[in-house]
Symmetry: C2
Amino acid sequence: MQIRTATEADWPAIWPFFRRIVEAGETYTYPRDMAEPAARRTWMLPPPGRTVVAVDDDGTVLGSAKMNPNHMGGASHIAGASFMVDPDRSGKGVGRALGAHVLEWAKGEGYRAMQFNAVVETNTGAVALWKSLGFEIVATLEEGFQHPKHGYVGLHIMYQRF
Amino acid sequence: MQIRTATEADWPAIWPFFRRIVEAGETYTYPRDMAEPAARRTWMLPPPGRTVVAVDDDGTVLGSAKMNPNHMGGASHIAGASFMVDPDRSGKGVGRALGAHVLEWAKGEGYRAMQFNAVVETNTGAVALWKSLGFEIVATLEEGFQHPKHGYVGLHIMYQRF
């Protein structure tokens, strides 16, 4: 597996699993019917943001991450990031590899911390992964997320200083 | 004091204290050198957001607030808001009146909660005001804000369910 900067040519490989994950409505605070152009603008970030893909040896896109300043001005030293792994390619360590990559990027860019704004508490795999990569749950917004199967569940804010 | 929806005609009265507050860099996570067009786009929100002004009996703009969905999709029932009171008009209850107005608006629009993403911990007047209006500090991002006088200080996330 290799992680490299995504180009516009990667978007057609990202969009199918982006759409599948967002339509499911279980993990992302994006509109479930998000149209393709809005999805592309949301995910494919120009500098100072960055978008990467994790690719297999044969070039297959396994997942993607975007990273960006989470705040402006006096809080612009806090980075943010989002992750999507193709559900058909899960369980291969793609999320962990992307998470580690994004943390290295943020440290290299001079950020002092990373904040995840909205981690759905029923997304326990992600919560455990981010904890293992050094993040703490600093708050849970009670009933912050309407889950299509579980109703209102908590929305974690996770944070890590470098 | 009256609170009413802001129009483009109000912007020239808002911009001087917006600029003064943002240039000071002590309370807002906006770039301190934010240019006027970016400031106007940031503050004067179209629906589903809304911007209001608090005006004195003679029509003088004392302060302003903007309110909006804080998240999309499954978390779109959480509202957000931002407040600015003209420093030359502080101490008259303008912030409290705007806060109460914004909470009423959010409840009336069907939101189920309100989240403030970034309240600088040294802005103790604001912290106390939001607490008195029912908000809790659900997290403090340690060293989340670089204050021009105090260095790195905490950034509170405040939350209230309705």
